[in-house]
C-alpha cells in the first residue's frame, strides 16, 4: 500500500494514550502483609475482609506463575509494583460528581465515558475505577429504587458484608491461580452489583477501568450477583496511558446467576498495547468466571480484546443448574508485538446444559493470537450440548494464530461439536476491492468486520460501534 490514505491510516496512534496529572496517594512499590493491612485499613474494611486478604496472600506466596499460555514475557518483579494508588481527593470522599477532581472528569471526557449528563442521555450507569479506587457511581438513586445495588466493592464490603462474605471467592477461590490469589490479597476496588429477585435491571450498568500512575498494578475485583429471575447487562471498558514500562493488570470478575437469572457481561478491552516496537503495554492477566448456580440460569460473555501487550484471559461458565446456558463470544485482535492467549471454559455439570462458543482471532504484524478453551461434560451432564467455532484470520506472514481446544466428555448423551478454520486477507481479495475503487485498508476493515459480525451482534449497540472503530485503529499498518 503506498497511497496517501494508507500513510494516514498507519500513522494513527493509540487514541486513549494520554496521562492525567493528578496527585496520587500511593504506597511505595512492594508487597508484604503490612501493605495488605494498609490497603484494608485505608478502606475501613471489617475484620473478615482483612483475614481473607491475608489468607489469600499466604496462599499466593506458595503459588507459581502459570507457564502454559502461548505467551512470552520477562519475569515480573512483584516487588516493583505499586499496590495502592488513589487520586488524592479520595481522602475527602467525593459525595457527588461535583466534588470529583475536575481534572479527573476531563480525563473521562477525553475517554468519552458517558458520565454526567451524557450518562443520562446514554442511559448508562457508570462506575469508574481510576487506578485503584472507584471514583463515582452515577444513577445510584434510580437504581436503588429498583432495589439494585451498584456500588464500588469497597463500599459493598462495608454496607453489604453479608452478600460479600457469602459470594466473594465463591466462584474464583483464592487458590484458583497465581493472579487470582494476588488479586484476592491486594484488590483495591472494583464494582459490586446485586440484582434482587425478579428484577430486570432498568439500565445497562457500566464500568470504566483506567490505569494512570506509573508502575502501578491494577487489581480490581468485580462481583455480580443476579438473584432468582433477575436480569442484568453489564459493560466493561478499559484504557491506560502510554508508558514505556509494562504495567500489570490482574483483575478478578465473579458472576453468580441464581435460578432463572440472566447475566450478560460485555467487555471492550483497550488497554495500551505497547508501541510498534513492542515496548510498554499492559499485561492483562485476568480471571473471569461465572456460575449458573440455579436452574435455567444464563451467563453470556462477550468480549472484544484489542489492547494489552499480553492478554491472558478465559471468561468461563460453570453450568451447575439444570437447563442452564453459557455463552462466549469473542474477538481478539493482535497487532505489532501483541500476544493474546484467550478463550473460555464451559464446565457442564447439570442436566441439559447448553453452551455456545464463537471465538474469532485476528493476527497482524508480528503478533500471536491463541484460542485456548475447555469444554467439559461431567458424568451428571445428561443431554448437554456444546457448539464451538474458532476462526482465525491472519494478516501478513509474520504473525501467528493458534487454537488449543480441550474437549472432555464423560457423558454419552452429551453432544459436542467443534469446528475451527483459518483464513487470510488474500492479495486477490484486496486486488478485487481495489479494482472496484476500495482502498486496501478500507477493504481490510470490511473483511475484518465481516469476520467478526457474529460476535459484534452480541454487543450492546453503543459498544458495537466502538468495537468496530477500535479494530480499525488497532489494525493500523497491518497491510503493507
Amino acid at each position: 500500500m503506498s497511497n496517501a490514505s494508507v500513510n494516514e491510516y498507519m500513522s494513527r496512534k493509540y487514541q486513549a494514550g494520554f496521562t492525567s496529572d493528578i496527585e496520587s496517594d500511593s504506597l511505595p512499590p512492594g508487597l508484604n502483609e503490612d501493605v495488605i493491612r494498609f490497603i484494608s485499613a485505608k478502606k475501613d474494611e471489617p475484620e473478615f475482609m482483612l483475614e481473607w486478604r491475608l489468607k489469600a496472600y499466604r496462599a499466593w506466596l506458595e503459588m507459581k506463575t502459570p507457564t502454559w499460555a502461548h505467551v512470552k514475557h520477562p519475569e515480573i518483579d512483584f516487588n516493583d509494583i505499586i499496590y495502592y494508588s488513589a487520586p488524592k481527593s479520595k481522602n475527602d470522599g467525593p459525595k457527588s460528581l461535583d466534588e470529583v477532581d475536575p481534572e479527573l472528569l476531563r480525563t473521562y471526557e477525553k475517554l468519552g465515558i458517558p458520565l454526567h449528563e451524557r450518562a443520562a442521555l446514554a442511559g448508562v450507569a457508570v462506575d469508574a475505577v481510576f487506578d485503584s479506587v472507584s471514583v463515582a457511581t452515577t444513577f445510584k438513586e434510580k437504581l436503588s429504587e429498583a432495589g439494585v445495588i451498584f456500588c464500588p466493592i469497597s463500599e459493598a464490603v462495608r454496607k453489604h458484608p453479608e452478600l460479600v462474605q457469602k459470594y466473594l471467592g465463591s466462584v474464583v477461590p483464592i487458590r484458583d491461580n497465581f493472579y487470582a490469589g494476588l488479586n484476592s490479597a491486594v484488590f483495591s476496588d472494583g464494582s459490586f452489583v446485586y440484582i434482587p429477585k425478579g428484577v430486570r435491571c432498568p439500565m445497562e450498568l457500566s464500568t470504566y477501568f483506567r490505569i494512570n500512575a506509573a508502575k502501578t498494578g491494577q487489581f480490581e475485583r468485580t462481583l455480580i450477583i443476579a438473584d432468582e429471575g433477575s436480569y442484568v447487562s453489564y459493560l466493561e471498558g478499559c484504557t491506560a496511558p502510554m508508558r514505556d514500562e509494562n504495567q500489570l493488570h490482574a483483575a478478578v470478575v465473579e458472576l453468580v446467576a441464581l435460578k432463572d437469572a440472566q447475566i450478560k457481561y460485555s467487555t471492550v478491552q483497550n488497554w495500551y498495547p505497547g508501541d510498534e516496537e513492542g515496548k510498554g503495554g499492559i499485561y492483562n492477566f485476568v480471571t473471569k468466571r461465572g456460575i449458573c448456580a440455579g436452574e435455567n440460569a444464563k451467563i453470556s460473555w462477550t468480549q472484544v480484546e484489542t489492547g494489552s501487550a499480553i492478554t491472558w484471559k478465559y471468561p468461563s461458565v460453570i453450568l451447575k443448574g439444570d437447563h442452564s446456558t453459557g455463552e462466549f463470544y469473542s474477538v481478539a485482535l493482535t497487532n505489532n508485538f501483541q500476544q493474546a492467549d484467550t478463550g473460555t471454559k464451559m464446565i457442564h455439570l447439570g442436566k441439559n446444559t447448553k453452551s455456545t462458543i464463537i471465538a474469532k482471532g485476528i493476527s497482524a504484524g508480528r503478533s500471536d493470537s491463541s484460542y485456548r478453551g475447555l469444554v467439559r461434560f461431567g458424568p451428571g451432564a445428561e443431554g448437554a450440548r456444546n457448539f464451538t467455532q474458532c476462526d482465525s484470520l491472519l494478516i501478513g506472514d509474520k504473525c501467528g494464530a493458534h487454537t488449543f481446544p480441550y474437549i472432555e466428555s464423560k457423558n454419552m448423551s452429551g453432544v459436542v461439536e467443534h469446528e475451527a478454520t483459518t483464513s487470510t486477507v488474500s492479495d486477490e481479495q484486496l486486488f478485487l476491492c481495489q479494482q472496484r475503487g476500495i482502498d486496501a485498508e478500507r477493504a481490510v476493515s470490511m473483511i475484518v468486520n465481516g469476520f467478526c459480525k457474529e460476535v459484534f451482534k452480541e454487543l450492546p449497540m453503543e459498544f458495537a460501534v466502538e468495537a468496530g472503530k477500535l479494530l480499525e485503529v488497532s489494525l493500523e499498518g497491518a497491510v503493507g
Binding site: 458424568p379 487454537t403 480441550y406 472432555e408 466428555s409 464423560k410 454419552m412 461439536e417
Partner: protein, 483 residues
C-alpha cells in the same frame, strides 16, 4: 558413561531383578528409577554381535537422558489424560507374585486368517518374541531384492540381507524431534532389537514391486502374574528417491502376562518416495504399550498412516510427521475401538515446514464400557509453509454411560496463506438412524453394532491395501463380539 555401566557388578544387578524389589513403586519417577536399574542390569549380558560398541554408547546416552527426565504425571501437559500408573501396577504385581512364570499361558492367540494373508505376501517378516529376540524371514515375493537391511539383537545374533547392509546406525535417534519423549529414551536404554532397512527404487515403477515389510509383536509365553518387558525395538527406515514400500506392524497379545513393550520407528522418505504404514494393536487388557513413529518427508514424498487399536491399560502412540520439502503429502487415519477398562492415546503432530504441502487426518473412536479415548492432534504450520492445506477431523462415539473421550485438536499457524481446518465431535449414535433400523425389523443391539461399525468402516476403507483392510475388519468383528 560406559564406565558407570562396568562399575556395577553382576551380583548387584541380580538383586535388582523382580521378586526382590524392596518396596513397591508408587510415583512415576520411581518407575523411571526402576527402568534405569533394569537397563543397567541387562546391559551386563548384552552381546550385540554387530556394532556392539555403537549400541553400548546409544544405551549409555539414553540412560543419561533418562535419569534426568522426570516421568509424566497428571500435571504433564502432553500426558494429562494418560497415566503411567498401570505400568507401575504391573511392575509391582510382578514383584509381589512369587510364582511368576510358574503358570504358562494357556490361552492361544487367535490369529485371524487375514494375518496369514499378510504373512504370505510379505517380503520380510520379523517376529519379536517375549524374550526380546527376533526371528527374521525373507519372503519369496518378488520385491525382496529392493531391501538391504541388518537386524541387530542385544541377545547376540545379527542377520544381514543377502544384498547388503543398510548402514543407517549413524542416524539412530536423529529423527526424534526436540521435545518430551521419556519412553523414547526408555526404548533406547532397554533396546532389545534394532532393525535398519533401506529400500531402493524399482527400475520399473509399478505397484507390484513394492517391498512389503511385516513386523509381528506378540506375547504368548510368559506366565500369569509376570511382566513380559523385553520387547523394545527400534526400526530405522530409509526410502530412496522414487522407492515404494509398505510397513505393517501388528501386535496381538493373548498371554496372561502383562506386557510392557516399546517400539520406535524412525523413517525418512526421500524425494518422490511412498510409504504405506499400518499399525494394528490388539493387545491384552493388562498391557502397557508405547509406540512412536517419527517420519521425515522429502520433496513430493507421500506417507500414509493407518492405525487401529483396541487399547489396553496403557497404550500411547506418538506420531510426528515432518513435511520438509514442497509437494510432500501425509494422510493419517486412525481408529480406536475401546471396551472394558481399555485406554488408548494417539498424539499426532503434522509439522508443515515447507510450502505447498498437504495433509489429511481422520481419527475416530468407539468407546464402550469404561473405555477412555484420548486424541491430541497438532497441526503446526511453520513460517515458510505458505500454500499449505491441512485438514483434521476427529469423531467419537460414546456407547456407554461410563465411557470417556478427551480430545484436543490443535492448530499452530505462522503462515497466512494457508487452508487449515479441524473439526471434532463427541456424541452417541443418531437416535433416528437407530429407529430407522428398528422399523426395518433390526433389534436395538444389532442396530447399534451395525451403525457403529459403519462409523469405523469409513476409515477402514481409507486403507489402500486389501489385506490390511481385511485384517482391520477381522479385528473390528472381534471387537464387536465383545461389546
Amino acid at each position: 558413561m560406559s564406565a558407570e555401566l562396568t562399575q556395577t557388578s553382576p551380583t548387584d544387578l541380580d538383586s535388582k531383578s523382580f521378586g526382590e524389589q524392596a518396596q513397591p513403586l508408587s510415583l512415576p519417577d520411581d518407575l523411571r528409577d526402576w527402568l534405569v536399574d533394569q537397563a543397567l542390569a541387562r546391559s551386563a549380558d548384552q552381546r550385540w554381535s554387530s556394532a556392539g560398541e555403537r549400541f553400548k554408547q546409544i544405551q549409555a546416552d539414553a540412560l543419561q537422558t533418562l535419569k534426568a527426565t522426570p516421568f509424566p504425571t497428571r500435571k504433564t501437559e502432553s500426558w494429562r489424560y494418560t497415566s503411567v500408573q498401570p505400568l507401575i501396577a504391573a511392575v509391582n504385581a510382578a514383584a509381589s507374585s512369587a510364582d511368576a512364570n510358574a503358570d504358562p499361558a494357556s490361552e492361544e492367540c487367535l490369529q485371524p486368517e487375514a494375518l496369514q494373508a499378510l504373512i504370505d505376501q510379505a517380503d520380510l517378516v520379523v517376529r519379536f518374541s517375549d524374550t526380546g529376540e527376533a526371528m527374521l524371514k525373507l519372503g519369496e515375493a518378488q520385491a525382496a531384492h529392493l531391501l538391504s537391511f541388518t537386524l541387530h539383537q542385544a541377545s547376540g545374533e545379527s542377520t544381514k540381507a543377502p544384498n547388503g547392509e543398510a548402514d543407517l546406525l549413524g542416524e539412530f535417534g536423529s529423527r526424534v524431534p526436540q521435545g518430551y519423549y521419556p519412553f523414547v529414551s526408555v526404548n533406547a536404554a532397554l533396546l532389545s532389537t534394532c532393525l535398519e532397512i533401506r529400500v531402493a527404487a524399482a527400475s520399473d515403477d509399478s505397484e507390484s514391486v513394492k517391498p512389503r515389510i511385516l513386523l509381528l509383536n506378540g506375547s504368548q509365553d510368559a506366565g500369569q502374574g509376570s511382566l513380559s518387558d523385553r520387547q523394545h525395538s527400534r526400526v530405522l527406515l530409509k526410502l530412496a528417491r522414487d522407492a515404494h514400500a509398505e510397513l505393517t506392524e501388528v501386535r496381538l497379545d493373548a498371554g496372561s502376562a502383562a506386557v510392557f513393550a516399546t517400539s520406535v520407528l524412525e523413517a525418512s522418505l526421500e524425494a518422490n518416495s511412498r510409504l504405506q504404514h499400518y499399525q494394528f494393536s490388539a493387545a491384552a487388557a493388562s498391557d502397557s504399550l508405547y509406540a512412536a513413529a517419527f517420519i521425515k518427508l522429502g520433496n513430493h514424498a507421500n506417507y500414509a498412516f493407518n492405525g487401529q487399536s483396541t487399547g489396553s491399560a496403557l497404550s500411547r502412540t506418538d506420531l510426528t510427521v515432518e513435511l520438509t520439502a514442497p509437494g510432500a503429502y501425509a494422510a493419517l487415519n486412525a481408529h480406536m475401538l475401546l471396551n472394558g477398562n481399555n485406554r488408548c492415546d494417539y498424539h499426532t503432530a503434522l509439522e508443515h515446514m515447507a510450502p505447498h504441502c498437504e495433509s489429511d487426518e481422520q481419527v475416530r473412536s468407539i468407546v464402550s464400557d469404561k473405555g477412555k479415548a484420548v486424541f491430541n492432534g497438532r497441526i503446526h504450520i511453520h513460517r515458510d509453509a505458505q500454500k499449505t492445506r491441512a485438514e483434521m477431523n476427529n469423531r467419537n462415539l460414546l456407547m456407554s454411560p461410563q465411557a470417556e473421550v478427551n480430545t484436543k485438536p490443535e492448530l499452530e499457524i505462522y503462515a497466512d496463506d494457508v487452508k487449515c481446518a479441524h473439526g471434532a465431535t463427541i456424541g452417541q449414535l443418531d437416535a433416528s438412524a437407530v429407529f430407522y433400523c428398528k422399523s426395518r425389523g433390526i433389534d436395538e443391539q444389532s442396530a447399534r453394532s451395525l451403525l457403529s461399525e459403519a462409523f469405523i468402516v469409513e476409515t477402514i476403507q481409507l486403507m489402500p491395501a486389501q489385506a490390511q483392510q481385511d485384517l482391520a475388519m477381522a479385528l473390528l468383528q472381534r471387537f464387536q463380539e465383545t461389546v
